[in-house]
């Protein structure tokens, strides 16, 4: 049941109808888990509201910042059969297929999240050169519904193919625009210092879960 907003509860709803949470695992060369971490609060940013707006408001030319900092129209911001471009990576998504970074992304700067964040502060580039990570294809899992919740999870593996350690301090979720040259940031989360290390040869497996809950 909807809850009347009063002076007592105006700053925060008794519960969140929609939450996004993340979990990470660091795996060694034998794919054995050596580190596990989970999020507390979700950090959805304006891009997520913008996505819902565009879903229910076709042909509106409203703009929001893309991950390059440019104001871009979002009315065709969904996977697009016109050019067979998809907003979210699967088989074509290895190291973004050479496109603007999209899907689950990692970074190194854990400055606090604000609602108008439109990108990670310091994105870890895709590749196997120094300070880079190989971004594997992303998996979109099916919706699972029980009596009171409905959720789905997106997974992506990252590989440190360099000779050095890479420390992850932020993560996020980008959606590609219908053209392959810009994307929007849906959420950004930070990992408190000292961050999470991925040693040379190790992997990081990142899971983002979106959940709705009925009271």
């Amino acid at each position: 049941m909807a809850i009347l907003i009063t002076e007592e509860n105006k700053d925060r709803p008794p519960k969140q109808p929609l939450r996004v949470t993340w979990a990470i695992e660091v795996l060694d060369k034998d794919m054995k888990t050596v580190i596990e971490r989970k999020s507390g609060e979700n950090s959805l940013v304006a891009g997520f509201a913008f996505m819902i707006f565009n879903a229910v408001s076709f042909a509106d030319a409203t703009t929001e910042h893309d991950t390059a900092g440019n104001l871009s129209v979002g009315y065709q911001w969904f996977p697009n059969s016109m050019s067979a471009v998809s907003c979210f990576p699967t088989t074509s998504g290895y190291n973004h297929g050479g496109w603007t970074p999209y899907g689950i992304v990692l970074g190194t700067n854990n400055t606090g999240v604000t609602a108008d964040d439109y990108k990670l502060n310091t994105l870890i580039a895709a590749g196997s050169a120094a300070s880079q990570l190989n971004y594997w294809p992303q998996t979109n899992n099916a919706v699972v519904t029980d009596a009171t919740t409905s959720s789905f999870r997106q997974d992506r593996m990252f590989q440190n193919a360099t000779a050095g350690t890479i420390t992850v301090k932020e993560l996020g979720f980008y959606s590609l625009y219908r053209v392959t040259t810009n994307a929007f940031c849906l959420c950004r989360d930070i990992i408190a210092d000292p961050g999470t290390d991925i040693l040379a040869g190790q992997y990081m497996f990142v899971h983002y879960t979106i959940t709705i809950t009925e009271a």
């Binding site: 049941m1 008794p14 042909a59 067979a84 999240v113 609602a115």
Partner: protein
């Protein structure tokens, strides 16, 4: 930390929404899939399974073809008189209040949308007004949002994505107009 608040405004009262249903998640999940896996089986408002697209195509245009016109009570924000608790599998309003000026009906306006606000409150807003052109009060107990996605052949169906039961009925007096707004809003 930031979060996404879902706020329903009915007349002069605001409510925390409790309402996205499974259909919303199915469409969101399909939208986040890679083409051509963007079609998903949802239940339309007649409780029939329909495979529709959650993405932009020449025939699909995201989740709606256009904003619902005045008098269209098939999709957009809808009002109802049912008060059975929301279930995550709800696919329709319990008792939709039909558009019109007959007894127990409300006149539905065109729906509009907006995206705006300032940090930390950037929002998507969906707005519609409901006018009581009858001689007696009409009581609203539930509010829902229905979208209108298409199959790959371009056939459209009505799909409920949110439903909220109000904690107390809201009466629209004869001759009055009641605005209803849904905000999906970021908050720090």
């Amino acid at each position: 930390m930031t979060r996404l608040d879902w706020i329903l405004k009915v007349g002069d009262k605001k409510y925390w929404m409790d309402s996205p249903v499974e259909n919303f998640m199915l469409l969101l999940n399909a939208a986040m899939a890679t083409y051509p896996n963007n079609y998903v089986a949802v239940k339309d408002t007649s409780n029939t399974a329909r495979t529709v697209g959650a993405h932009w195509t020449a025939v699909n245009t995201n989740w709606v073809p256009a904003q619902p016109a005045a008098a269209n009570d098939n999709y957009g924000i809808l009002c109802g008189s049912g008060d059975t608790a929301v279930d995550i599998l709800n696919y329709a309003m319990e008792t939709k209040i039909a558009n019109g000026s007959g007894a127990g009906q409300l006149s539905y306006s065109i729906q509009t949308t907006a995206y705006g606000g300032a940090t930390p409150n950037k929002y998507a807003k969906i707005m519609r007004t409901f006018t009581n052109n009858t001689a007696n009060p009409v009581t609203v107990k539930e509010v829902g949002l229905v979208v209108n996605p298409a199959t790959s052949a371009g056939v459209r169906y009505y799909v409920l994505i949110t439903r909220d039961v109000l904690p107390a009925p809201v009466a629209v007096a004869a001759g009055d107009t009641m605005p209803v707004e849904i905000y999906i809003q970021t908050t720090c």
